[in-house]
């Protein structure tokens, strides 16, 4: 029994299972002429094509669409209208169905993709019902509720439903290939990053709307074609049957039940869902029973099996395999390897201003968080930004990094005005930032996290492999530099808070930024790690890297930063070398308080 369970973890076994299933699927109609089961498989294939597609935007990207049956309807109507109004064989129009579905997804994407979370769900529901209303009311084109009857198939009856069957098999294969390819390219890592943390994704150079639109179009194109074939197969295309929200639910269920984010899960889910569908239609008479079963199944799956079958089984097998082994993440800190990097760049004479902030203002519902802050960061410095809690430090970071847009004022970086640019454009310009609370992409491995950043945007780059040779070598060098090389394959969510901070720093270095913004690099981590963090920062700075650091650990700031900017009540009240800051009465008054006693600065090693 135990041996059998061990074998279950072997990838070759599963490759074998998939191969056998594929052969069985292809051979079935030739070997058996049972039309009942052929019909079931044909419907399963339509569900599977929908589920594999939906998985791209929902499983990888984290955006749920309740409107997937809109693409079935669009495809079916495209084929139905084209064959009845223009003529030709319905199969000829199937590619056009894909194009129409893709265009509609892109259009919807343009509106929806700048929204977050539930606004997207709302838009997809609205789109589905609007299309249904159009199909009902635009009589001259769609024949209203009477529907369209496509011509009957003209092939020999001996071939049964083979043309439907095999064209859907081909579409399913194409969907799987697309899903597989996306997961292995920059589009896939970008979508995963969006699912894990969309704001953060934008700050490391991911142009989030473009990724989401690509993901949504990918989820629609083959489903549109399948819809065309489906309408032809049913021989009746009407608004109720085609734009059916229950089909949307079934497609979602297939993805969740099989396992979102996995390649094969949606296919498994689809065949299971169609079996249930057939049972509820044949045995229970469809209608209310079908609604009850699928509504109930959706509720139960989300409550009891939210991860789905394939991920649950995989987790169980991994737990088994790991039993008795100590976790790597609990290990002592690994040694760090210095970057044998560039020689120290001599600072330009006179020192060049890299970042300039002029009269920055930002209010939150009347509260002025930043009120006319102005300061500069010179190239090659480690500039510290200190100030009491609520003085606007993190808001300033958000305004520089682009997570927020200022109400007034300007931000200039490297000779360019950047305050209206999106976060990813600022990342391309050379700004990298960390967050106060670490925001690694928990569901991705450490190595995937480090290679996720993009230094520029190009369509060609999207096709590049997610973890290509040169990039991965560079990422591994950076992980060695922060002392996290052994953790490359670990899921980032397994790391400790301090380890995440080091991984975030390596991730940032991947951008090759000119300026690094660190928000409390020493916050909430143990003294050994604080020392390591200081070493890493100092070493990078010696190679010419500029930093702007928000930090509350005064000994660290005084030992590491020069100059130091002091922010109070949203304004920059003074700036100078650590020694000057310590003596400045305004700083003592605004920040340290009268009874403040100086601690010894952390000495440079």
């Amino acid at each position: 029994m135990s041996a059998v369970l061990d074998r279950l973890g072997s990838p070759s076994l599963w490759r074998g299972v998939v191969a056998v299933a594929a052969v069985a699927l292809i051979a079935y109609p030739v070997l058996y002429d049972d039309l009942f089961y052929q019909n079931m498989i044909i419907l399963s294939l339509v569900f599977a094509i929908g589920a594999v597609g939906l998985n791209v935007i929902m499983g990888y990207g984290g955006y749920i669409s309740l409107g997937q049956s809109a693409f079935i309807g669009l495809g079916a109507y495209t084929v139905g209208i084209a064959t009845t109004k223009i003529g030709g064989d319905p199969f000829v129009w199937v590619p056009a169905a894909g194009v129409v579905a893709a265009l509609f997804a892109a259009l919807l994407g343009l509106i929806a993709m700048r929204t977050r979370g539930f606004a997207f769900v709302i838009i997809t529901i609205a789109a589905l019902f609007i299309l249904q209303i159009v199909a009902i009311n635009w009589d001259s084109l769609t024949n209203g509720t009477s529907g369209i009857t496509p011509p009957l198939p003209r092939w020999d009856l001996d071939y049964q439903n083979w043309p439907f069957y095999y064209s859907l098999v081909v579409l399913l294969a194409a969907s799987l290939a697309l899903s597989w390819w996306i997961r292995r390219t920059k589009i896939g890592t970008g979508l995963l990053a969006i699912r894990e943390d969309e704001d953060k994704a934008a700050t490391i150079g991911i142009d989030t709307p473009v990724y989401k639109i690509i993901g949504f179009v990918a989820s629609a194109v083959f489903l549109g074609m399948a819809g065309g074939i489906y309408g032809y197969y049913l021989a009746f295309i009407d608004p109720q049957g085609m734009f059916d929200i229950v089909i949307s639910v079934q497609i979602i269920l297939a993805v969740i039940l099989g396992g979102r984010g996995t390649l094969w899960g949606p296919v498994l889910g689809a065949f299971l869902i169609e079996s249930v569908n057939e049972y509820s239609n044949q045995e229970l008479g469809g209608g209310n029973s079908r609604l009850l079963i699928f509504g109930g199944l959706l509720v139960l799956t989300i409550l009891l099996l939210p991860k789905g079958i394939i991920p649950s089984v995989r987790d169980a097998l991994e737990r088994r395999a790991r039993r008795g082994k100590a976790a790597l993440v609990g290990a002592r800190l690994a040694d760090r390897r210095p970057l044998n990097g560039k020689p120290r760049v001599a600072p330009a004479q006179p020192p060049r201003t890299l970042l300039e902030v002029k009269g920055l203002e930002k209010s939150f519902q009347g509260v002025r968080a930043v009120a006319g802050g102005s300061f500069e960061v010179e190239e090659g410095t480690i500039t510290g930004l200190i100030g009491p809690n609520g003085s606007g430090k993190t808001t300033v970071f958000n305004l520089i990094g682009g997570t927020m847009k200022p109400d007034a004022g300007e931000v200039w970086f490297d000779g360019r005005r950047i305050d209206r640019l999106s976060p990813w454009r600022r990342a391309y310009a050379g700004i990298g930032r960390t967050f106060q609370i670490t925001r690694v992409f928990g569901g991705m491995t450490v190595l995937e996290n480090v290679v996720a950043p993009l230094r520029s945007f190009s369509l060609a780059q999207l096709r590049a492999g997610a973890v290509s040779g040169e990039e991965s070598a560079r990422a591994e060098r950076l992980l060695e530099f922060v002392g996290m090389a052994e953790y490359g394959d670990q899921p980032a969510q397994a790391l400790s808070f301090g380890q995440r901070k080091l991984v975030e720093l390596a991730q940032l270095m991947m951008l090759g930024p000119k300026l690094i913004l660190l928000d409390e690099p020493a916050g909430g981590i143990n003294p050994t790690l604080v020392a390591r963090m200081a070493d890493v920062i100092r070493e990078l700075n010696e190679q010419g890297q500029t930093f702007l650091i928000v930090e509350h650990n005064m000994p660290l700031v005084l030992g590491l930063c020069d100059p130091i900017l002091v922010l109070a009540r949203g304004e920059c009240i003074c700036t100078g070398a650590p020694a000057e800051i310590q003596r400045d009465p305004r700083v003592l008054d605004a920040y340290l308080g009268e009874d403040f006693k100086l601690e010894e600065p952390v000495a440079a090693p």
Partner: protein, 312 residues
């Protein structure tokens, strides 16, 4: 010649007068139905405020309230609007049970999970109503069903006037409850900052279940009104989902005032479309509003952001 011109003038004047009367008439209809919409949407926005759950089953719960009212009226002869006194506590209890069995286990799950869960619940409710009451269109018809008040040539159907008055009354009670009672203040505190409220001693678990139950109770009350105002069947809940979603998109989430304004705007948009465009396309109004608002005013009319790229 002169007489002809004068008659022409007279005709256009009366046409103009007729158009004005019709416009005022439709505006009155829109405002009356807007009051009921406001009550309908208040429960959803209340629930979202405290637990950040978009309850897609809201429309199905409304139809359930309507069916319960219909049965009370048909079987026992209870006036549909008076039935509110029965449907509201019954739906409050149902809300309590639904929260404990379904929503509570998903407290920390992402918003998308609860959207799917409540959508599943909506389908279950639709199916159950279909099995119990059948899939035929129903409508409660009390004695005043086809009577109306006539105010200066403007027709105000009694059912709509009564429903509007009760909706305003219930909304006022809800508002006073939130503003004046300790529990109400706890709900508002939890809505503004859940963790902060917990820290100062608000029992979030209790507040959550109470809010959910109150939200479902208000939609039960709205359901009683709908049983008189519209013919309904189990599948009607989709159009009500569309309406509530467009109301919150218009008015912003989590604010009762916003929901009220969104509700009135939707009511007006629907009656104007019905009168001046076509009845068929009136069903598309909520969906079109969703698109238009998200495209042009992503922050909603009352400030709550739905699109995150603008003015973070």
């Amino acid at each position: 010649m002169a007489a002809g011109a004068s008659r022409g003038h007279h005709d256009s004047g009366s046409r103009h007068h007729k158009r004005m009367t019709e416009f005022i008439q439709q505006t009155a209809f829109g405002l009356l139905i807007g009051g009921v919409y406001a009550l309908f949407a208040s429960g959803l926005t209340l629930i979202f405020g405290v637990m950040k759950v978009i309850n897609i089953a809201h429309g199905a719960l409304l139809i359930l309230g309507a069916f319960l009212t219909f049965t009370l009226w048909e079987q026992l002869g209870i006036d549909p609007l008076a039935a509110i006194l029965i449907t509201t506590p019954a739906m409050f209890a149902l809300g309590w049970v639904l929260y404990m069995t379904m929503v509570r286990p998903l407290r920390s799950a992402p918003l998308s999970s609860t959207v799917l869960l409540t959508f599943g619940l909506a389908l279950v409710l639709e199916a159950v109503m279909g099995l119990v009451w059948g899939n035929n269109s129903r409508s409660a018809r009390p004695s005043y069903f086809d009577q109306s008040f006539d105010v200066a040539g403007i027709v105000l159907p009694k059912a709509q006037v009564f429903a509007f008055a009760i909706a305003i009354l219930v909304l006022t009670l809800l508002f006073l409850f939130l503003a004046r009672t300790w529990t109400g203040r706890a709900i508002r505190a939890a809505s503004a900052n859940t963790q902060g409220a917990a820290l100062v001693g608000v029992d979030i678990a209790r507040v959550s279940v109470l809010t959910f139950a109150v939200g479902v109770a208000t939609v039960g009350a709205a359901g009683s009104m709908v049983s008189v105002l519209y013919p309904f069947l189990p599948g009607s809940h989709y159009i009500w989902i569309a309406r509530v979603l467009s109301i919150i998109v218009l008015g912003g989430l989590g604010s009762l005032q916003g929901a009220a304004i969104g509700a009135v705007l939707l009511g007006l948009a629907e009656v104007y479309t019905q009168t001046y465009v076509s009845t068929e396309w009136a069903t598309a109004v909520p969906y079109v509003l969703i698109f238009v608002v998200l495209f042009f005013r992503p922050q909603g009319l009352m400030g709550t952001r739905l699109r995150e790229d603008v003015a973070v």
